[in-house]
């Protein structure tokens, strides 16, 4: 599969930039942004098919951002990328989210999830 449009939203600039580059090398049409405001602007301007969303960011949590995005663009598939457990007492990943992968990530596992998300969009 190639040229799936992916947007990475993560305040860890080095992480997001390196991951973006790695996905580009694998033919994913990838862009990275590092804060919530840029994420919302990027999604409105050029919506991705798959969003890789950090769970914890300054200003607004990934879950809050997820809910905001789903309100104006429910077709985007969201994969949470988190440094903590995908299920925890404080902030549980929404059931509607496509998947959750943990940092440090396994690039093969992540690309599998992105491909599955793309298939899910095609089937819709």
């Amino acid at each position: 599969m190639s040229w799936t449009k992916v947007l990475i939203v993560d305040d860890e600039v080095e992480f997001a930039a390196a991951l973006s580059e790695r996905l580009l090398l694998r033919d994913y049409d990838t862009k990275a942004v590092y804060n919530v405001d840029d994420a919302i602007a990027a999604i409105k301007q050029d919506p991705p098919e798959v969003l890789l969303l950090d769970l914890k960011m300054p200003g607004m949590s990934g879950i809050e951002l997820y809910r905001t995005i789903k309100e104006f663009n429910p077709s985007i598939e969201v994969i949470f990328v988190t440094g903590q457990a995908c299920q925890n007492g404080d902030e549980t990943i929404p059931r509607e989210a496509f998947a959750c992968v943990m940092k440090p990530i396994d690039i093969d596992e992540l690309t599998k999830q992105i491909d599955k998300a793309k298939q899910s969009i095609i089937k819709k």
């Binding site: 860890e12 080095e14 992480f15 390196a18 991951l19 580059e21 790695r22 090398l25 914890k56 960011m57 300054p58 200003g59 949590s61 440094g83 903590q84 940092k103 440090p104 990530i105 690039i107």
Partner: protein, 231 residues
């Protein structure tokens, strides 16, 4: 101290230790994630772009610099947690209040950042080392800083200021920003930092906590807290 107060204090201290270790592991995993991605990128550049090796050399160098930087950050963080854990080795020791505040801030910076709060220090150059209970002072500062973080809106600053005063040290937590109107959010952390626990800790440290104008909290701790002799 009666058994219920002692139990509450222990629960508070355990909760505080859990929060500190949780903050550390989250930070460390972030740095490891960056290291792994950067190393993975170098590997990808070699595998995917063999014919363009010279053009990629600048990118290799950037990636290697990033790996070294993240390792340094992870080591520094591990050092902070190591120092934090050893604060509990002995009930009384001689230590620098500035070191304790620096460790606390380093391990809680991410939590503050998620809430949009900036933690800063304003240390007096002539603050001496104190002989006290570092673990309890740590827990006290954690509770009071946490309460301020929950009580102020995004974009606020918390300045931790120190100054010497005769036989004690004064630590001020000075908020700069707009207080939150709702106190509902504060309930969760109240389970760890109950008011009576804060009071109990400051009493065992033979110090005082004062809530002053403009939401400034002043903590006074004596320079020399002698161990209480068992009866």
């Amino acid at each position: 101290m009666d058994s219920e107060k002692e139990r509450n204090l222990r629960i508070s201290q355990m909760g505080f230790v859990g929060k500190m270790i949780g903050g550390f592991t989250h930070e460390l995993k972030n740095h490891l994630a960056i290291i792994k991605e950067t190393a993975g990128l170098i590997e990808d550049l070699i595998v995917f772009r063999k014919s363009e090796a010279k053009e990629d050399s600048a990118e290799y160098m950037r990636s290697l610099d990033s790996i070294a930087l993240q390792v340094d950050k992870a080591v520094q963080l591990a050092n902070y947690l190591n120092r934090f854990s050893h604060r509990m080795d002995h009930p009384f020791s001689t230590f620098s209040v500035h070191d304790v505040i620096e460790e606390l801030i380093a391990l809680r910076r991410r939590s503050a950042s998620e809430r949009g709060i900036c933690l800063e220090t304003d240390f007096h150059g002539a603050v001496p080392a104190i002989h006290s209970d570092p673990s309890r002072l740590y827990c006290l500062l954690y509770c009071l800083i946490e309460e301020k973080m929950l009580g102020f809106n995004k974009g606020s600053h918390l300045i931790i200021k120190t100054e010497p005063s005769d036989s004690s040290i004064i630590i001020r937590i000075i908020p700069k920003g707009k207080p939150v109107e709702s106190i509902a959010e504060r309930i969760i952390d109240k389970c760890i930092c109950m008011d009576e626990v804060v009071q109990e800790i400051i009493e065992t440290l033979k110090g005082a906590v004062r809530h002053e104008q403009e939401s400034v909290t002043t903590i006074i701790v004596p320079l020399n807290l002698l161990p209480v002799e068992k009866k």
